[in-house]
Point group: C2
Chain length 201, copies 2
């Protein structure tokens, strides 16, 4: 692969990601991806043999950024409260930089449930360590006992939801875009506070 070739390939991947995220798999058009990449449509098939291949390439790139940070943090040796604090901060920062990814993932997840297991499995997120830490700190009277599979889901849910359901939330609370940006910012301390308050003794 030449340097020019790599540049073209990256251009395609970037354009494809944008279009797939905005329109979903079925709604995305190979022509539009080609146009945005500034190339001929036939060239898409030269680099990625089919639409499905192209989508797989895009998705695996997105997925590869999704889990490792989570895994790394879960396996660090911080105290639980610090771990939760950092996790929420890192996670919300990542979401702010890619606000459309969760909806994209959810959409793909539900219209095409197959083909995901490999990415999830490969990520190797292991909640057992978290459970152990919870039990340990609960035993030492630092927090109350909670189940890891609920705590983790609760935290992630609270982080992601305002991004995937933005139009609903924004409208019910009658915020403009500026106010919503502010609202998203304020959720960082709010979620951390909410969780820590809940798991205190």
């Amino acid at each position: 692969m030449t340097i020019a070739g790599e540049h073209t390939e990256n251009q395609i991947l970037t354009s494809a990601r944008d279009v797939f995220i905005a329109k979903g798999y079925e709604g995305a058009r190979m022509q539009e991806i080609a146009d945005r990449a500034g190339i001929n449509k036939a060239l898409l098939h030269y680099y990625f043999r089919s639409k499905e291949n192209l989508f797989d390439a895009v998705f695996s790139e997105v997925a590869s950024h999704l889990f490792p940070a989570m895994k790394q943090l879960l396996e660090s040796d911080l105290g639980l409260k610090e771990k939760i604090t950092f996790f929420v901060k890192i996670y919300l920062k990542a979401l702010n930089e890619n606000p459309y990814i969760p909806a994209f993932v959810i959409n793909t997840l539900n219209t095409n449930p197959d083909g995901f297991l490999k990415y999830i499995k490969k990520a190797g997120v292991n909640p057992l360590l978290l459970q152990k830490q919870i039990e340990d700190e609960a035993g030492r009277g630092l927090i109350r006992a909670v189940k890891a599979e609920h705590l983790l889901v609760n935290i992630i849910a609270m982080c992601i939801f305002p991004f995937v359901a933005r139009p609903i939330v924004q409208n019910i609370f009658e915020m403009n875009d500026e106010e919503y940006r502010f609202y998203l910012e304020s959720r960082e301390t709010e979620i951390i506070d909410f969780v820590l308050k809940s798991i205190r003794l």
Copy 2:
């Protein structure tokens, strides 16, 4: 409209809802909707002039079931803790009966953001009442002070997330379908407990 006609129309709406939810707007095929309804494809256009019209009909029906229950509960005169308890129970029950609706709504919300505001506005969910009640009960020392726009979002997020991200959650925690059903059931008391613990003084 004759009785037979109404029957056909309902048949179409039911089939259309199933297909739209399973495949999304772009992925849904008029032919498949017709087949499932046991009728000719041309008859779809006789009752609903276009695919877009049919989708609107389906979505407005779904949306009309989404908010009224929420609104009614928020405006009832229960104490906050009872209100939260009932809300989670009712909401999870509705989700269990229609587990694919949230993903469908999120998908539509993000690929076609327009046309939603009317349903949301019409629903008239008013969080001001909730905020007032929170301030009141906080003033009386029953709970700590929280912001309604965070509390409400937190609760709904925790309820919905395991339904829209089921494949991920199920896989990370290595559950089979039976175990996941059980997990979803256990979340009811877990969420209620998590929230009430968080807002205690």
